[in-house]
């Protein structure tokens, strides 16, 4: 499928790359246990799927500590409203641009496993299907309870608005659990 991060068809290309940059990437590939080819594929995929949008949008990239410090002063409801209006509303456009069907499974795979994690709004994400047909989405982050509330409300609203699925959530200081109910 177009836009899928795991591709099978490959194209060969010969590049002339800055030696110092190539040396650095080789070093990183070595420490990640990857070949240079796999490492460059990973960098290009990440760029095409995520950073190109960050750049086009002219997003601000901020250290974790600074964000926490600013978060302490921000009104929670105002922040939720802003996140919904200015961030998550862009997501369906990314799917459309790349010809990816906007299904719950693809939202998990593209939004929660890739975009959300790269953007630093949480550090780990897992999901699983329950026996009753519901899906548990579990996010962990390094901020505080206020951020858990913001994520829980924003993601639940996003799931309801764009996928028409109901959910329930539970918040802890560094973890959010969202149970997406069977349709």
């Amino acid at each position: 499928m177009r836009g899928d991060p795991k591709h099978s068809s490959k194209s060969n290309i010969t590049l002339s790359v800055d030696t110092s940059i190539l040396k650095e990437i080789k070093k990183q590939a070595g420490s990640d246990g990857l070949s240079i080819n796999a490492k460059i594929n990973q960098i290009l995929s990440k760029y095409a799927l995520f950073y190109t949008h960050v750049e086009k949008q002219e997003s601000v990239i901020m250290p974790h500590k600074d964000f926490q410090s600013i978060l302490n002063d921000v009104d929670e409801n105002k922040f939720v409203e802003n996140l919904q209006k200015n961030n998550l509303d862009l997501i369906p456009g990314i799917f459309l641009e790349r010809g990816i069907p906007f299904t719950f499974d693809n939202v998990i795979r593209i939004v929660f496993e890739i975009i959300g994690r790269f953007s630093g709004i949480y550090s780990t994400f897992t999901h699983r299907k329950e026996k009753d047909g519901s899906t548990m989405l579990i996010f962990s982050h390094g901020f505080d309870l206020k951020w858990s509330h913001i994520l829980a409300i924003t993601f639940s609203n996003f799931i309801k608005t764009h996928l028409n699925l109901d959910s329930e959530y539970q918040v802890m200081p560094s973890t959010v659990i969202i149970k997406v109910l069977k349709n």
């Binding site: 177009r2 836009g3 591709h7 068809s9 490959k10 194209s11 060969n12 290309i13 010969t14 590049l15 002339s16 790359v17 800055d18 030696t19 110092s20 940059i21 190539l22 990437i25 990183q28 240079i36 080819n37 460059i40 594929n41 960098i43 290009l44 995929s45 760029y47 095409a48 950073y51 190109t52 960050v54 750049e55 949008q57 002219e58 997003s59 601000v60 990239i61 901020m62 250290p63 974790h64 500590k65 600074d66 964000f67 410090s69 600013i70 002063d73 921000v74 105002k78 922040f79 802003n82 996140l83 209006k85 200015n86 961030n87 862009l90 953007s119 630093g120 709004i121 550090s123 390094g142």
Partner: protein, 183 residues
């Protein structure tokens, strides 16, 4: 297009790249009027100099409208303090890891033309030498006079701490001019 970093020594490498990803990179290069080789060099350079650090430090990526709303309620001095931490901690670390001398030319090449634009601190950057022999660094942004004051104070501190040269500044609502004496 955001600023390109230019480096000299090149090495040839043949890669097998995911075809849809390569196609996206090629399309973007065409739109920007650069070769695929130049575009991939830029993506790899950005990875080595910026995105890998932002991932390692779990930086937050904030859309501009959300940042503007957050910045409105933050005390200016607090924001200057937060940015100054980047100046005395993150940037010297990037320079040390990549064995880059902290000269004004390198600050321009790697920080102002690169990391600061990529990180969303400003939307464009240019520089020139004025009739009094000052190197003038001109940053443009869309966050208003408060942001001009904040980055002017913080970047003059950054230049002084990195190069040990004094820096003066002028601010306008969407522009900051930093002036550093040449020689």
């Amino acid at each position: 297009m955001k600023n390109e970093l230019k480096q000299n020594n090149k090495s040839n490498i043949t890669l097998s790249v995911d075809a849809p990803i390569l196609k996206e990179v090629q399309d973007e290069a065409k739109t920007e009027g650069v070769s695929t080789n130049a575009k991939i060099n830029t993506i790899l350079t950005k990875h080595v100099l910026f995105y890998r650090y932002s991932e390692l430090q779990e930086m937050m990526i904030i859309p501009p409208k959300i940042f503007a709303a957050m910045f409105e309620i933050i005390d200016e001095d607090k924001m200057v303090d937060l940015l100054n931490h980047v100046a005395i901690d993150t940037m010297p670390s990037v320079f040390a890891h990549n064995n880059i001398d902290p000269t004004i030319d390198n600050l321009i090449k790697y920080c102002f033309e690169g990391i600061f634009v990529w990180g969303g601190m400003c939307s464009s950057f240019r520089h020139y030498v004025d009739e009094h022999g000052y190197r003038c660094l001109v940053l443009e942004h869309k966050y208003g006079i408060k942001w001009s004051n904040t980055i002017a104070k913080s970047l003059s501190f950054f230049i002084e701490s990195m190069t040990k040269k004094p820096a003066k500044y002028k601010v306008l609502p969407s522009t900051v001019v930093l002036m550093v004496k040449e020689g």
